[in-house]
């Protein structure tokens, strides 16, 4: 199996402001968000990153997307170092997170064309793909409606479509179904399965167990910035549920941190 994403011993530490120290009830001036994290994702698989809030999932994804730099370690996307050549990595990955917003003033149609141009997609190819994706996600009738006037679900669908304008081979999804109604969530999850069938590699960060069980081939459970478990979802389900495994690991980590 071809490795499309390789994460090697990533470490990321943040300085805590006094306000953050107060909120987190700590006197430590630094927080290790990601601690010696390593994993690989293969071509055509969906790799799930599971963890509680503050476990370091989003920080890891931000490093993979080249938005922030790791203090130590390396991330290689399709043979390209994220640290050394982030712009090239951006042309190879799609990144969807609720943190990234679309400009309210523009329409889905304008934004699709704009991001296609920034990704240097051929105009004819972009047009064909746009029609296909807009039709699939029911964006067609809203294509000339400003983003500000779209529903939350429609905004999420537009964001998803725009994150893959360049038809990347690796797509990173951070909580892709968050805040969506059940129908839109179903459309999104079906689309993720479709992408996998097309041979795309998907990194899926979530805290929804059922989503991992339904979609992912392998899962990495991150607790306190460390990889607490990594394995095939099918193997876990043979012995116990993913939920039980997660809480066992979580309780163990709590016990260790209290010792």
């Amino acid at each position: 199996m071809k490795t499309l994403l390789e994460v090697k011993a990533l470490v990321k530490t943040f300085n805590l402001s006094k306000k953050q120290q107060r909120i987190q009830k700590t006197k430590e001036k630094k927080k290790v968000a990601v601690n010696d994290l390593s994993f690989q994702a293969y071509e055509g698989e969906i790799y799930g990153l599971l963890g509680p809030n503050g476990a370091g999932k989003t920080t890891t994804l931000r490093i993979l997307a080249g938005l922030i730099k790791a203090d130590q370690g390396e991330a290689i996307v399709d043979g390209v170092s994220v640290t050394k050549n982030p712009d090239l990595v951006h042309s190879k990955i799609g990144f969807l997170t609720s943190e990234l917003k679309l400009e309210d003033f523009f329409t889905p149609n304008y934004l699709y064309d704009y991001f296609s141009e920034l990704h240097h997609v051929d105009k004819q190819v972009a047009k064909t793909r746009k029609e296909e994706l807009f039709s699939k996600f029911g964006i067609d009738e809203f294509r000339e409606v400003k983003v500000a006037e779209l529903s939350t679900g429609m905004k999420q669908k537009v964001s998803l479509v725009i994150s893959i304008v360049h038809n990347p081979n690796i797509i990173i999804f951070d909580e892709p179904t968050n805040g969506l109604d059940i129908i839109t969530a179903k459309i999104v999850t079906d689309f993720l399965i479709e992408l996998k069938k097309e041979g795309k590699t998907l990194i899926l960060s979530t805290h929804i167990f059922s989503l991992v069980e339904k979609l992912c081939d392998r899962v990495g459970i991150i607790i306190d910035g460390k990889m607490a478990y990594e394995g095939y979802v099918s193997d876990i389900n043979k012995e116990s549920s993913l939920e039980d495994l997660f809480f066992n690991l979580y309780e163990t980590s709590r016990g260790e941190s209290h010792e």
Binding site: R62, A65, G66, L67, I68, K69, D87, L88, H90, S91, I93, F95, E99, L100, K101, L102, E103, D104, F105, F106, Y110, Y114, F115, E117, L118, H119, H120, I162
Partner: protein, 390 residues
Amino acid sequence: MSKNVITMIKKELTRFFTDRRMLFSLILPGLLIYVLYSFMGNITSRMIEVDEDYEYQVYMVQEPQELEGLRLNENYDISLKTETLTKDEWMKKLENKELDLVILYEAEFYNKMLNYTVGSGDAPMVEIYYNSTKNESSELYNYYVGSLSYMESQLSNKFDINRSTDVKYDLASEDDMSIQMITALLPFLLLTFLFSGAMSVASESIAGEKERGTFATLLITPTKKSEIALGKIISLSIITLVSAASSFTGLMLSLPKLMSGSDFSISMYGFGTYALLFTVIISTVLIYVVLLALVSAYAKSIKEAGALAVPLMILNMLVGISSMIGPSTAKTVLYLIPVYNSVQSIISILSLEVNMMNLAITIATNFVFVAVGVVLLTKMFNSERIMFNK
């Protein structure tokens, strides 16, 4: 220029020029300036001018026959009140603006005046009462005081100053006087318009995008940070120039109205002057945009960007005020100071006394400053502490 930069510029311009609210905020200043300054000019001229057909109401006591000529001046249509009024009555009428002037000559004023020599006791007196809140009253008061003072000086005339009425003793041309007014006013106003135009668009485009989370979406495209910086600066400069053009047009059209009453004209400026002025304006706009883009990139929100820009705005106004001191005597080395060099160059262009070397230094310095700013902005876009620290 790379394709990404052009794509970004197109998007930024679409954002500003298709949004009615934004477009309105760009064009409105020019319109407001024109309306406001024209209105101010109109009001000012009304305050000092008197209607040609106005009939002045004057109450006079013991007017010497020899001085009737003053009253018969063809420029003033004076109506003399014939009824006898007590002091209280004419004071009240003056206060109520029913009378314009009250002149009380001492008895035998003219003869006493002719017989008077210095040191022979009190000089004969004339008292002139008026109401300074009424233009017509002030106008007539000034006429009488001026005429009587002139007559008094003629009585003891020892020498004349500028006797001839045909000779023009003030050799300043009408153009020179207009230039003096323009150079005192325009650089300051121009700098203020340019800065405030750049301030609103830069904070919206950079701090606003950071605040709304749309900037991060841009950062995960293959666009280089330097391309983003360049795209933002060029598009913001174009938008600021449109805003400045609106303000400048409004200002130039309203100046003759604002200066009404004086021999004001802008006819001495030709295409060359405006072309040079435009060059300096472009380089100055670029500096403002770069400065405000740096501030906006550092700020976490539009509000914070606005607050951080205030000290820069005050500094800019102070530099602008330096134009009011008078014509430039700045040494060449001072043209290496951005913004100050722009003020001095604008003054020299508007004074029609352009020093091409100083102008070249100004533009070159400003462009070097802009290049350094683009590099700094690129570094800021690369800084996760600045771009993602909430």
